[in-house]
């Protein structure tokens, strides 16, 4: 089985569909112009990659752009995609920041704020009922989304996936990158000797990926492999030698069974910042060594840096290169930097291209490289392997209103509550105050959870990959960045808060702490981010022999949480927390294990309940396997969730205790992660503590626990002993 790109859609400042994009690349059109979308306090306004045509105003720009690209990609395809994987960094921020600026108190107006809402908006529009995943790994998001899509296809869980990235221009990114002095006042000129930075842009690209044995009719390109790494070096700057970037490219080549000499063209990340372009050039020198570099160019001097969309746009452009035999120019670069030993294409070139390597790198040291080939090119067929997605649990940790794991369990045994905000003392227990001076609440929680999970595993080995789930990301950083910006007439803000505001910043901190240089993926989607992180880990973590750290956490923020999280808004106590799990992929059917089993975006269909029962092995198996069900019903969808639970109990003939755990943990997006950590402990001890089971301890009778996520999505995670 092989993975093919069978269709694509793209919108960027140089074109609003694939044919316009191609025409613009043929003529080296430049889409950069002084920002006009909103009044700029920087005078003159910075050159930006803005899409000038009118976008419908009923949803944020990111949503509109994503749907335009998705509709183009899906044109002529009747059946909806089996799954959607989307890379996004700003989500609803283009609309939310204005509401926040105007102190709008209406939570209803923030319903499209969450990064995960973009993918769900697409799923609703296209009728997709399968897994809907949202990746937020800063500027590599769009390419990391393609990686997850590829693995989803290889696992056999989907046959056609719509995947890509989208981001709309907003004040947060425009002023944020400028505060880092990473924006070139003359417009991006990647690899030029006088380059001074990027131009912030917007856009979207969506690719339809299909798994088949032979190229389907009309296949545009074959995805040969995607390599992911993390620098584990700095929160915002790349490794100076491009070590992580080089490793990502090597992983892509190795995954495809290709050598550097097989590459015909390199579609560079090339943002135009001095550091990025130098690191990327050095990585290429290391990769190619004595071989001559193939033709290479970055399109960011033409369309700007489209952030979460950039990796998908690069992949889409690379597919167009393969289909049309066109190598685009490195627009903006006049005099190549002699120090880089990289001469990007100064004008477009027409020639047949068989194999293209394309890069996307981002904050947090996230690196992604995709290798794409002509469908006719020979490549080793991918064997579908019915691999277990289960993990052995080596260590676990949690933070709740009661404190750390031990304090939480003690409270539950005593029948005391564990809701509330995680106490600062518990968060700081394993942390050094001066080492975390720049980190606010969420990254501190994530780091604390990871360190505790690793330390109580007793393992000397540190994790290779990191998967982080967060419903809402760093709210303190986001709030502080915007409030300072708005209180100074958009003249001043905090670069530190900008770096901290990206959803994957906490995972980057964890990677730096452990020197975890494998895949580093952050998934974000309200109440289901933990499940998405675990699900994605199940698809990818087996690639490397090391252990994997899965963390999920959310912070309560007094201003933003009530606006964004409808379940938390009405809760009697303000709660937050999360969990850390040090895991090892396993095929063994024994020992303490956790396995993501089910993820559906179609909560209302009878078919979903049927699929869930199938995924769990049917009613009889459910009765044998599970001694308790932990049900996660977010308050905002309580009625729907209770109906779903009743249906499940009836279908499964469940007579074991069913724990409505949000009543215990409190309402917050990562409550399911806390429930997972508690389930791990309960299975290890073989019983439920009094505080979880209506004040009476209960035996699990040597069975495991089923963690059900209900409401807007339906998810199932199994914890077994």
């Amino acid at each position: 089985m092989r993975i093919f790109v069978t269709s694509l859609g793209i919108i960027s400042p140089i074109g609003e569909n694939a044919s316009q994009t191609l025409a613009a690349l043929e003529t080296s059109a430049c889409g950069l112009a002084p920002l006009s979308l909103f009044a700029s306090s920087v005078d003159p306004p910075l050159p930006s990659g803005e899409i000038r045509s009118h976008l419908p105003g009923d949803v944020p720009r990111t949503h509109s752009l994503a749907l335009i690209a998705a509709r183009e990609a899906m044109a002529g395809i009747v059946a909806p995609p089996d799954a959607i994987v989307l890379g996004v960094t700003t989500g609803g921020m283009p609309a939310s920041e204005l509401l926040l600026k105007n102190n709008d108190p209406d939570p209803e107006k923030f319903r499209y704020h969450g990064t995960g809402t973009v993918a769900h908006y697409l799923a609703d529009a296209l009728g997709c009922h399968g897994p809907v995943l949202t990746v937020s790994t800063a500027c590599s998001s769009g390419m990391v989304a393609l990686k997850i899509a590829v693995e989803l296809l290889k696992s056999g869980k989907a046959r056609r996936v719509l995947a890509g990235g989208a981001d709309g221009l907003c004040r947060l990114t425009y002023y944020g990158f400028n505060s880092l002095q990473l924006v070139d006042p003359a417009g991006a000129r990647p690899f030029d000797k006088d380059r001074r930075g990027m131009s912030v842009g917007e856009g979207a690209a969506m690719l339809v990926l299909e798994a088949t044995a032979y190229p389907p009719a009309g296949a545009l390109a074959e995805v040969l492999a995607v390599g992911l790494t993390c620098d584990a070096y700095h929160p915002a700057a790349p490794h100076p030698d491009g070590a992580g970037a080089e490793h990502a490219m090597r992983k892509a080549l190795a995954g495809a069974g290709c050598a550097a000499a097989d590459i015909d063209y390199i579609n560079l990340h090339g943002t135009g910042t001095p550091d990025n372009d130098r690191a990327e050039a050095r990585a290429l020198q290391a990769l190619f060594s004595t071989l001559p570099l193939p033709a290479a160019s970055s399109v960011k001097g033409a369309l700007g840096h489209t952030l979460g969309a950039a990796g998908a746009i690069n992949a889409a452009v690379s597919v167009l290169c393969i289909v049309h035999g066109l190598l685009p120019a490195n627009t903006g670069c006049r005099v190549p930097d002699p120090g880089l030993q990289l001469l990007p294409l100064s004008s477009p070139r027409r020639e047949p291209v068989s194999t293209v390597l394309s890069n996307a790198f981002g904050f947090g040291g996230n690196n992604a490289s995709i290798l794409l080939g002509k469908p006719a090119a020979t490549a080793a067929p991918v064997q579908i392997k019915n691999r277990s997605t289960a993990f052995a649990v080596l260590g676990s940790s949690c933070l709740t209103g009661a404190g750390d794991c031990a304090q939480t369990l003690a409270a539950l045994r005593d029948g005391a509550g564990i809701s509330g905000m995680a106490p600062a003392k518990a968060i700081m227990a394993g942390l050094n105050e001066s080492a975390v001076r720049r980190l606010k609440r969420l990254p501190r929680m994530a780091l604390s959870l990871a360190i505790a999970a690793h330390s109580n595993s007793g393992s000397a080995e540190t994790p290779d990959s990191v998967f982080f789930g967060t419903g809402w990301g760093g709210l303190s950083e986001t709030h502080d960045f915007l409030s300072r910006l708005f209180s100074t007439e958009e003249r001043f803000t905090s670069p530190t808060d900008f770096i901290g505001s990206v959803h994957n910043a906490p995972a980057g901190q964890v990677a730096m702490h452990f020197q975890a240089k494998g895949a580093n993926i952050t998934l974000t989607d309200g109440d289901y981010a933990f499940e998405q992180a675990l699900f994605s880990a199940g698809l990818i973590a087996h690639e490397t022999p090391g252990t994997v750290m899965v963390i999920a956490a959310d912070e309560y923020h007094e201003k933003l949480t009530p606006l964004f999280d409808a379940s938390a808004a009405g809760a009697p106590t303000f709660s937050d927390g999360g969990c850390g799990l040090l895991l090892q992929p396993t095929d063994a059917a024994m020992g303490l294990r956790i396995a993501p089993l089910f993820l559906s975006n179609d909560p209302d269909s009878d078919l979903t309940m049927h699929s869930l029962m199938l995924a769990l092995g049917g009613a009889e198996a459910i009765g044998k396997k599970y001694g308790a069900v932990f049900a996660g019903i977010p308050a905002a969808s309580r009625d729907k969730g209770r109906q779903q639970l009743a249906l499940f109990i009836k279908a499964a003939g469940c007579d074991c205790p069913v724990i409505d755990y949000r009543k215990v943990t409190g309402e917050f997006a990562s409550a399911s992660a806390v429930a997972a950590a508690l389930a791990v402990d309960c299975v290890r001890r073989g019983e439920l503590p009094a505080g979880l089971n209506q004040a009476v301890p209960a035996s699990l009778h040597s069975r495991g626990i089923l963690l059900l996520g209900l409401g807007r999505c339906i998810t199932a995670v199994e914890i077994s002993g």
Binding site: Q181, R437, S494, T496
Partner: protein
């Protein structure tokens, strides 16, 4: 100048959340970035923002930044020599 140096010490501690550092513990002659305080490029950008906001001076290129942030004394001298007359 001493007054400005002392003022900057407090502002730096506050801006960069250096909770374990006392103003008296900052040596005005010592290396400001990459020295004992553990400051790096992100901290410098944070200080750039503070200096523009509080003293009306923009430091927007690397060469100038390296010179200005060499030490606290160099920073104070730069501000003293260049701050607009209108600043208090």
């Amino acid at each position: 100048m001493d007054k400005l140096i002392n003022e900057l010490k407090v502002k730096i501690i506050d801006t960069l959340n250096l909770t374990s550092v006392e103003p008296a513990g900052i040596d005005a002659e010592a290396l400001l970035v990459g020295g004992e305080l553990g400051l790096d490029s992100i901290d410098v950008l944070e200080l750039v923002m503070m200096i523009e906001k509080d003293y009306g001076l923009r430091i927007d290129n690397k060469e100038l930044g390296i010179r200005v942030f060499a030490s606290l004394k160099a920073l104070a001298e730069y501000i003293h020599q260049n701050r607009p007359e209108t600043q208090p």
